[in-house]
Symmetry: C2
Subunit: 469 residues, 2 copies
């Protein structure tokens, strides 16, 4: 969160030759108006916008390649844009340049039920893909909350509530079409489920946040829709008891599809916002997928583990309406939490630690929080050891802002010290660059820089992201 | 398979200064004798040995780093060695140099049952890790057949029979310690189950076959031992019927742990070798893991699917002795097949295709085989679309050797044309380099070369592997 708004130049600073070439090729799909540029120079983080000099609405891989070739000739930055829902300043045009809006690349190119995969253009959103899968008996499980584009999700290595069962975009992406810095187009990977044929370029581009190339098409794995689904909610006497329940559940191999932790404050916020009457205590939300008998068996095992750790008010929901009421409350948690401090914005943290350290990490973090006087509800994908604190801060309260920044930094450092990561699923963008050296070490960061230099020697692919200056 | 044996120089060609430095530092663990060098210049492929100039038996990451720093100063190649069980000439010293034998790095450094992970030195074999896990209720599932070192398995992105359920070394490797070309040591990844913190260096080194760095330690994922296991064997009227059974099993989300296809010839070989009385027809071997009720339910569903596709002689084995008899026969298939042509060696292929193309790929391959007159039993990890043909050829039969090479090439090209890969799990080494351009395209191969140049500008890390000259 910056204290001053950025100064937005009103006239595009692109080289005239480039502007003319883009205007000729893309007509009205080459936009330099302030409103469009401002809209493309921000994400859902609290960073003030840094607009690009122009936006091109691309409709095919060939068009993205053409933009890249033109920008490359003039050494002008290129920033890919999906739905604008990232959280760490991934879209900010720190050195100006051309934003390539991929949202019109929204075609589902192939669905192959026999192979449990689909090929989509980068602008297809996860909900659009799931709508297209209707009737196939399959679904695309990665769910980061926002209805993000699948290209953007791959670029930030997104995950979400059911990663504990179905993995992240790292596991979900089989193959990609990528436009390189100079406009060449490559395909990474094949549709084979596994391969030992050389360097894993797919996994290199997944999570590279547009800094090595622009993903324009992807082949993703699908999963069979579970025959039966059950959800449950259970309150615990302490966060530690809830976390121990999670650890034991996973150790026993119970294949939970979702297992989410909310602290008492988050539950309070949900009760106020969603008119629920949940006990205001540390709470786990579960979801189980499987055959009816399998889910029943898992339900029983899970119940026993929870009770053993002092779980109270165990409430099961196997009817769709009850389930969606429960998960709606969970999904509304972000807005519910914002309601705790009217006028506040949220600075969101995203650490992920080995699950054995989770209770300790949360305890130390809450003790730190108390010392700061900040209000910060907690919610997390605890099956993966990933949790978020929503630091509620009024934008004009400089003292609390500084405290929030210090708290977020200590939390990231604490997670890294526990052999965890500063970001489990949001990505680095601008916001987390300062932790990269601490998390990876100087030499590993040098390896990342060497790869960046090898693939983008002019530093025109989403410059300023991931790697500290 | 080369026609002439390589000429083995009897005296190490290392620069004198390097030899002296290595001898001083490693004493008797620096070996230049012909026998040791010859043993380290080959793997289980049919390629004749190409010995390194010397072998160092390293006992720690610091020692590997010291060797790398010394070799780097003289621009002398470095080749990592685990158990020598790779299959594509990964260990051949095409430009001489120093082989770093990691087999003495055999310590299990940590087992963390709460986190379902373990940290091991690279020389720990998969069986040694599973022995160390005894009593924890956990196991390490990746099983390529050979008792390979876990470092070597990561370097070649190995997998095996139960990858369909538990994934490959790509999914199994959480973090690694890597010695770079100049002797610097980096850590890739953390113990967090997921991360969005920059380029995925772990996945870059997994499958890089020692060409970018030497993996000296790894943190790998473990899994809970299943409460119940059931195995089954079932014969089918045709390969297509067997493959359709596999497709439907996976589409229904039945979480099979293993699903292996053997053709009639392989079953015949097994019957002869293992004194079994299996019907000599295309056959599936299954294994199911889960709770007793879950396994029973899966068993029933699987049986119904198999019968629907004409499955015959369905035989279940839920007792450990029956199971191990069944799987012993499957594991002995390689030797059983060699017995079909006494004196023959096997040239092994390793294609992997989308499962929807598997029946077609196998049919075209068998038709091709008939035209060549070669004998080649088939067996495969069909849940992943991966199968091997064991081309049985007498080493002195030049005509059949040429036919086998042509057949293997057509098979690789066929798989690539079906959006598959020339190697599902064996790696590229020397043997599959010629398919890299066809599989990845020239520009993607250029990206791989750029990465290789960035991390190993002097081309001293296992030179000659993966990338064609």
């Amino acid at each position: 969160m910056h204290d001053k708004a950025a100064i937005v130049p009103e006239i595009s600073r692109l080289p005239a030759r480039l502007s003319a070439a883009l205007a000729e090729r893309f007509g009205a799909r080459f936009a330099t108006g302030l409103a469009v540029r401002e809209q493309h120079g921000k994400d859902e983080s609290s960073l003030p916008p840094l607009p690009p000099d122009a936006v091109v609405f691309a409709e095919s891989t060939a068009e993205v390649a053409a933009v890249a070739a033109l920008c490359h000739a003039e050494r002008v930055p290129l920033i890919p844009y999906g739905t604008g829902t990232s959280l760490e300043g991934h879209l900010h045009a720190v050195r100006g340049g051309v934003c390539v809006d991929l949202s019109r690349m929204g075609r589902v190119l192939a669905i192959r039920p026999e192979d449990l995969d689909a090929t989509v253009e980068a602008g297809v959103t996860r909900k659009a893909l799931n709508a297209a899968l209707h009737g196939t008996g399959l679904f695309f499980p990665i769910d980061p909350g926002a209805d993000a584009s699948i290209g953007g999700m791959a670029a930030t290595r997104a995950s979400g509530t059911n990663a504990v069962r179905y993995g992240t975009m790292r596991e979900a992406t089989l193959a990609a079409t990528v436009v390189l810095a100079d406009g060449r187009v490559i395909k990474t990977g094949t549709r084979a489920k596994k391969s030992a044929a050389g360097y894993d370029l797919t996994r290199l581009f997944v999570g590279s946040e547009g800094t090595l190339g622009i993903i324009t098409e992807l082949t993703v794995r699908l999963h069979p829709l579970p025959e039966a689904i059950a959800s449950a909610v259970c309150a615990f006497p302490s966060i530690d008891a809830a976390v121990q329940t999670v650890i034991q559940t996973i150790q026993l191999g119970i294949p939970v599809a979702r297992i989410e932790l909310l602290d008492a404050l988050t539950v309070q916020a949900i009760n106020r916002h969603s008119k629920t009457r949940l006990r205001e205590a540390p709470t786990l939300f579960f979801e189980l997928h499987g055959s009816p008998a399998g889910v029943a068996e898992q339900t029983e095992a899970l119940h026993a583990i929870a009770v053993e750790h002092g779980g109270m008010d165990f409430e099961w929901a196997d009817q769709p309406e009850d389930r969606s009421r429960l998960w709606q409350a969970r999904h509304d948690a972000y807005y519910a939490c914002l309601g705790l401090q009217p006028g506040a914005r949220s600075i969101t943290t995203d650490v992920c630690v080995p699950i054995s350290r989770l209770a300790e990490c949360i305890a130390a973090t809450r003790a730190d929080l108390e010392r700061t006087g900040l209000v910060a509800p907690l919610l997390g994908h605890v099956g993966d050891g990933n949790f978020h604190m929503l630091l509620l801060v009024k934008p004009d309260d400089d003292i609390m802002l500084a405290k929030a920044r210090g708290f977020a930094q200590r939390l990231a450092e604490r997670a890294i010290a526990m052999d965890g990561t500063c970001t489990g699923e949001h990505g680095v963008g601008l916001g987390k660059r300062k932790y990269m050296a601490l998390e990876h070490g100087d030499d590993a960061l040098e390896v990342m820089r060497a790869i960046k230099m090898a693939l983008d020697p002019d530093n025109i692919m989403n410059p300023g992201k991931i790697l500290p200056d």
